[in-house]
Amino acid sequence: MNEVCFKNIDKKEPWSLSTYEASGGYSVWRKILKGELSPENIIDELKASGLRGRGGAGFPTGLKWSFMPRNSDIQKYVVCNSDEGEPGTCKDRDILRFNPHSVIEGMAIGGYVMKASVGYNYIRGEFMEPFYRFEAALKEAYKTGLLGKNISGSSVSFDLYTHLGAGAYICGEETALIESLEGKKGQPRFKPPFPANVGLYGKPTTVNNTESFASVPEILAKGGKWFHDLGVKNSGGCKLFSVTGHVKRPANFEVPMGIPFKDLLDMAGGIRDGRKLKAVIPGGSSTPVLTADEALAMNMDYDSIENAGSMLGAGSVIVMDDSTCMVKTLTRLAHFYYDESCGQCTPCREGTGWLYRILKRIMDGDGKSGDLDLLNNVGSNILGNTICALGDAAAMPVESFLRNFSEEFEYYIENGKSMVKDNV
């Protein structure tokens, strides 16, 4: 446990440069500055490590970095996605607060590999404590001569800046994030062209999640194989899981991929108040909900969670006990997506509103017998019909809640109240 991003979490001032360097921090970066590590070498190690994007989509990081046109001389950018807004997710905040230098080093390494001399860390506007921590770390790194132009007399240059959001979940989507960085509304762009060709200010850009960047230095220090072997097939390494909801000790746990869900639940102290597990959303609010039985049989890796019927996503495990009203829970999520749809695509803009209004009417006791079919129908009309994945993120919970807990929805429609007696 706690071997990569959380390596120093129990040390004194884990965020300081001295703590970071004392545990081997910046050793990879210094090697690069001395010309001892080639970009090809780094990409090979990252590919061998099995590191997959921690922002939710799980795209292999080494492969993503190899897509950048590194041999062209035009300006390129690396961007860190610290917009963390997926309900249930709160790991990047702790990385920024407790290990900001790992993000700086990871981004600098990315800049070197992709020949991008400038990086931006896009931090959500509410994360002011993490922002100040990160800024302080940046200052330390500049002062020590780890960033800037022709760093320590080398031919390597890397300048890193922060950018703050202003409250919009959609800006976590990478092309919306790029628009936002340009000072515009956060509305996702059509792909292709992909950011690796046309990104920030029209220049090749790679966007990675905070945890992805933060994992890179340790992977390169200890070797891709070391990281890979911590995990299981198709899910290399370890990962941060935010375990929240009805558990005794909600927390972020950095554990090897593939550990049984049961063990993770135990680490969080198990279900509180002696209640029974009812449902689990394993990867953040956008991923399908699972029943207790499905969850208890699964392991925490990409394939196992997919086989159970959901997705690992950002590793945000939301645990619900038997006091949870699934109608109310889904209504709350539907409201979130309705609120956060950027309004660009009709199926998403209108569909999320429909989903919320139908659920609200069920909650108000005005549900009609055809409402569940209508919900499924609206959901399937959003799925796959939008520019970005927010639409899918809104539709997938609906389908899974209705499939796994249909009797609760039917009961609510028939009786105008929740089937769960002491629901929260």
């Binding site: 249930g88 709160c90 506007g125 800046y161 409250g167 909801g245 959303i281």
Partner: protein
Amino acid sequence: MISNKAKKEINSWVEKYPEGRQSSAVMEALKIVQSENGNSLTTELIQEVADYLDMPGIAAQEVATFYENYNHSPMAKNVIRVCHNISCMLNGSDELITHLESKTGVKTGEVTQDGNICVKKVECLGACVGAPMLQIDDKYYEHLTLEKVDAIIDGLKEGK
């Protein structure tokens, strides 16, 4: 009018972006100007920010209305932003909100008569392991109980 102090602060953001890309700083510029103006924006102020950054007024207006963190009507001195998303809801945020409403005497979204407090329901603030939680200014308050919330509100009433 944008003060010289605000301009200086805006300039420190403009410096982060490539030449000619100063409009990247519009989000921060609007925040800086908003906080100087008693926590809300006006059409005139937005236009001034746009002029200062040499961008079309409508583009700044779009930004100011797209993002959540800008206010377009007089706002309370203290905005209490309570997360009511899933992890917080499972940990009693609804009860917390009801309590806050009765304690302040106004519904969520409304400003108390003395202009001191406004309680807002907001979406996940990325601190779900600390649920239920709320934000005031730059600070997060986590693992809340009704007693803790009372203490926070009483602190605000006394003017912190």
